[in-house]
Amino acid sequence: MRNLWIFVSRYNAFFLFIIFSLIGIYLTVKNNAYQRSVTLNSSNEVIGTAYERLNIFKRYLNLGMVNDSLAAENAKLKSQLLALNTIDTAKDVKVIDTLTDQQYTYLAAKVVKNSVTLRNNIMTINKGSLDGIRNGMAVIAPQRGVVGLIRDVSEHLATIQSLLHKDTRISVSLKKNHALGSLVWGDGNFDIRKAFIKEVPNHIKMYVGDSVVTSGYGSFPAGIFVGKIIKPNVATNDNFLSGELNLVTDFSTLQYVYVIKDKKAEEQKALESLVKPNE
């Protein structure tokens, strides 16, 4: 006992150091909300994650069927809504046509394969040429937001070149003043929640929170909400402005998408091909 006491007092600096630093760390963990939450959470996280995995598995056992019927119904309702919205009122000739002139129809498709982590991301859906899908058709997300364009089509499947691809450019405009720009992703920032609007004319003023919608000049119908500007007026070296925006589409959780069929796409392409470039 006496030897122990001598030992302790001989190395008192070390033992005092242990005692005081333990008090200090105890105070740190006890009195600071952040450190406490980190300590508690790292133990809770393990248990919580296990339960979460189990729950997801249970939920999906019986939800596949419900999802299918809901998506189909949604597509039908969206087609009807669009039929009401896109009546061409600027006609000068009255044509007796009991059907409304519906340009766009929606087709629900299930995402079979998805990727978000690559530089150029491609998705696969379970509808193909037998369902009327053609190369170049627009694809949008179920709630809101754009997804990409159809790339290759087989009989029962099709691939989508998603927005998260270096070649994808989608014609968009600012909702408030219809200033045109093009939507691109990547360019030094590979966050799947952010994209850039580029080639906006220099005299346009962008502000944080401005809504960006599709312009209607590409395969997408006009007015589909794409996202909100978070960093406006990024000057580039050319005569155009750029802006960074938050996408509303959550690419990482996409399960269903809508392919938009444009009835007049062929006609428009044929007409526009008459114009020779550099004329």
């Binding site: 005092l16 150091f17 005081f20 630093s21 200090g24 105070l27 006890k30 009195n31 450190q35």
Partner: protein, 171 residues
């Protein structure tokens, strides 16, 4: 002599903490480099101080800082670690019986010894401080960068202060 040392240390404590809390707390380069000059008080405590008193002073100073920084216990732990490094370094590098200088300052101990002493103490203090503040290893690169840059900053200021109050006659 003894009461003079106590008064000098009390005044030093007040001035250093005042500067730290009201001036340096608002300083920082890009949230990366923050100087912590108040540890100079712990560095300059006299050689003859008992270990238990040194630890109590370090802990108390740390707690005072914590009260102003709203980081209960972080500075206190860092200061205790600094006190341990100080005791270890002094007992390794100097012969305990042959110490006749009153305090380990630049003017008594010379530039070489003092800069090594200050460097080791500052780096120990900053490592503990920043890692306790971050409290996770996933941001280790950023934490180490903050720690390194702050060390340089603190060390520069400590040496600067020591050179300003350099007493040529005592050496």
């Amino acid at each position: 002599m003894n009461s003079r040392i106590i008064i000098v240390n009390i005044i030093r404590w007040c001035i250093l903490l005042f500067v730290q809390i009201f001036l340096l707390k608002n300083m920082g380069f890009y949230d990366l480099s923050t100087p912590f000059i108040y540890i100079l008080f712990l560095l300059l405590l006299p050689f003859g101080i008992p270990n238990i008193l040194l630890y109590l002073l370090a802990f108390g100073t740390g707690l005072t800082l914590d009260a102003f920084y709203d980081t209960m216990g972080v500075h206190a732990t860092a200061c205790v670690v600094l006190a341990f490094v100080r005791i270890s370094f002094i007992s390794i590098s100097l012969n305990r019986d042959a110490i006749d200088d009153p305090e380990p300052s630049l003017s008594y101990m010379g530039f070489q010894w003092f800069s090594l002493y200050a460097f080791l103490c500052v780096i120990a203090h900053h490592l503990v401080l920043f890692f306790l503040e971050t409290f996770r290893l996933s941001e280790i690169g950023y934490t180490l960068m903050r720690c390194g840059l702050s060390c340089i900053f603190t060390l520069l200021i400590i040496l600067l202060v020591e050179f300003i109050f350099y007493k040529r006659t005592s050496r």
